[in-house]
Every structure is written in C-alpha cells, then in structure tokens.
C-alpha cells in the first residue's frame, strides 16, 4: 500500500439514485487548492445528470491506497480458508463418517 502525495488532488465519492441501500462509490477526482472548492468542483463535474444523495471528497495525500503488491494479502478465499463455511462443513462430515453417525446441519454446509 502507499500513501498519496498529491495535496491538490481530491477523490470524489457519490451515492446516486433513489435506492438508499446503494453503496457510496468512487467516481473520479478533481484538482483544487481548497477542500470546500474541491467539493463544489466535484458536484459540478460528477453529479450533472443523476441525483446524488451523498457526495464526499478526500484529499489524496490523506489516503492510503492498495497497490498490486497488496493483492495477495487481500485475497480471502485462498489465504484464509479456515474462515469459510465450506472448510468447517468438510471437517464435520469427515468426523461424522469416522464416527459412523449422520452429519448435522445439512450435507452442503
């Protein structure tokens, strides 16, 4: 991961449309010398045609972002198999087989 170093770049995040359950998404960036002006620039540039309900801007130098080198550490299913229901389900079925009893909680869990 890396720390941003541009103080005059602000990334813009919006939530669009009527569905309040929608996540807030990154839409792009603006360049500005001032945080409030950055917000206004983002409003003028990124919410021209859809209704936005949330608009945030964040100075890039205050952000920490992932890089390609972080890809492996962010990949859950290959790295953290013990967190997944499939893994515990297999353990349970194997145990039931050894003990010769019916598995509990469904075959597929």
């Amino acid at each position: 991961m890396r720390r941003g170093n541009q103080t005059d770049v602000y990334d813009a995040f919006v939530k669009l449309g009527d569905d309040p359950a929608q996540p807030i998404s990154w839409v792009g960036s603006v360049r500005s010398g001032d945080p409030e002006l950055a917000w206004h620039a983002a409003k003028e540039i990124y919410t021209r045609r859809e209704d936005a309900t949330v608009l945030w801007v964040a100075q890039r130098s205050a952000m920490v972002t992932s890089g390609p080198e972080d890809l492996e550490s962010m990949r859950t299913p290959s790295r953290l198999t013990y967190r997944l229901p499939g893994k515990v389900g297999r353990r349970r079925r194997a145990r039931a087989k050894l003990a010769d009893v019916q598995p509990v909680g469904g075959a597929e869990a």
């Binding site: 103080t7 770049v9 960036s29 603006v30 001032d34 021209r48 130098s61």
Partner: protein, 305 residues
Amino acid sequence: MTITQGHGIDDDTRLAQKYELWDEMPEGYREAAARIASFQALAELVGVLPFAEWLDRAPDFERKQMLAAKIQDEVGHGHVTARVAEDLGVPREQILSDFAEGRSKLLNIFHYRFETWEEIGPAALLMNSSAIVQFQALDKGTYLPYARALRKIEKEESFHYHHAIDLTHQTMTLGTPEQRALAQRSFETWLPRLLAYFGPPDTDTYQQNPMYTFGLKVKSNDQLRQEWLTKIVPVFRDLGIQVDPDLARFDEDLQEWVYAAPDWIEIKRILNEGGPMLAHWRAHIAGTLERNGTYRDIALEGVPA
C-alpha cells in the same frame, strides 16, 4: 478485407487485458494513454469556444440555458480527461500552454467558428454524433480510468445530441427560407470536415499502430466513419436536410457508404498551419492562462498539506 472485419469487440484479444493507473503497463503504454487523454482534454476545452462565443447571442432564454449547460458539460469533460492525463504525469497547465505556445495540434473541426446561429444546429449535430460513435468504441478500450471518464461523458453527449437535433428542427420547421438554406449550407460545409475528423483512410498496416495494439484505439477510422454515416444520415433526412448523393450515399452493391473524399491535402495544411480560427483560440487560451495565473498560483500555493 482485414481480419477484424466481422470480429466482435467482445472476443478481441487486444482488449482483454485492462489497466488501472497503479498497474504495471507495457513499455510505451503509459505515454500512449497520457497522449490520448491529454489530446481529448484539449479538444474539449478548445472545442467549446465556438459555442461559448454564442452564449450572449442565444435568441431566447431556454436556448441560452441549454447552451450554457452544454458549455459547462464540455468544460467538465475537459477536467475529467485532464485528470486522467494528470494522473499519468501530464499536468493540465502543460496541455494548455503547449497549445497556447504552438507545440500541439488541434483536430481539424475546431479550426473554425460559427458564422450564423442557423449554422450551429447541423454543425453541432454532426460533431456530437461523431464524438458519440468514437466514444462508444473508445470506452471498450484497455485503460480503465479513461474508459470510465468516457462513460460519464457519453451521458452528457446524449443531451448535446438531442439539443443539436432540436436546434436544427426549430430552424427547419419555423425558420424562414433563408434560415433553412443556412442550415442546409451548414450541413454541406461541415459534413466533409467531420468525415475528415475520423482520420485518413485505413492503411494496410493500421493494426500495427501501437495505439491499436495497446487497445487504446478500438476500431479503425473507416469502421467508425461507416458506422457514423449509417447513424446520422437518416437523422438529417428526417430533419428535412437534403443529403446530396454525391456527398454521401449508401451503395447497396458494396454494402457501404460512398462519400466525397475530404480534401486531405487541405486538411493536412489546416492541421499543420492552422485554419481560420486557430490563432484566435490560441490567443484566447493564452490570455485566460495569464489572467488566471495569479489566482491559480495563490490557490495551489495555499494547499493545506
């Protein structure tokens, strides 16, 4: 004719590998992506000037509002594409000063101004429709920040397109015979310019062009030109504009559009030496840079860290 004919974008292997700003890119890719984004930023920011100078001459209030919206949209497109270029290392100050100081070229269609109000509708319609055809291909390209910027831009271009249709429709339905003749003449003046805007006819080697192999250019000039004619000629006919078959007609035997070839020597001259308005737009951009320089420097100097 070529192997990509009839070959869909979806299975085009050139376009399979996409890139984000932070990805490793092949040799020369970053520079090529920066070039395409900065070229478009300049086109948006200078291309809006012929419209901007009509703002205080718009004939009614609603039209003025719509024209102002279009102008703001275009400047926004300039910002969005300039951000793509800036992230790749080309600051917007450089894009603008390269133009103001004569180091960069401008697309042929932006070397003119509109002489009459009636000229604007058909000219804008030809410009918007060709931009839309270009962007709809380019947004399948391999550089994702640019593709995203284009998808945002397309929504606004769709409004510009309908606004240009409405403007032309107004002239053709309510205008005097003189006004309709001006719209007709605008179509005939601008059609060859826009045909040239798509670039020279495909060569046998266009597929070796790095822009094309990188998947930054998605379709060939001739493919796009044909798609555009298919889309736009019927729209003009519906508006009551006569499309002279010598200018453009669909040839049933060839199954393609045949059109009056642009004067490529003249186009080349305009690109290299400049058309009628180039010096004026350069001076305008140079003046804006200078006038706003003080404020820009103060604003960016006071950037809170």
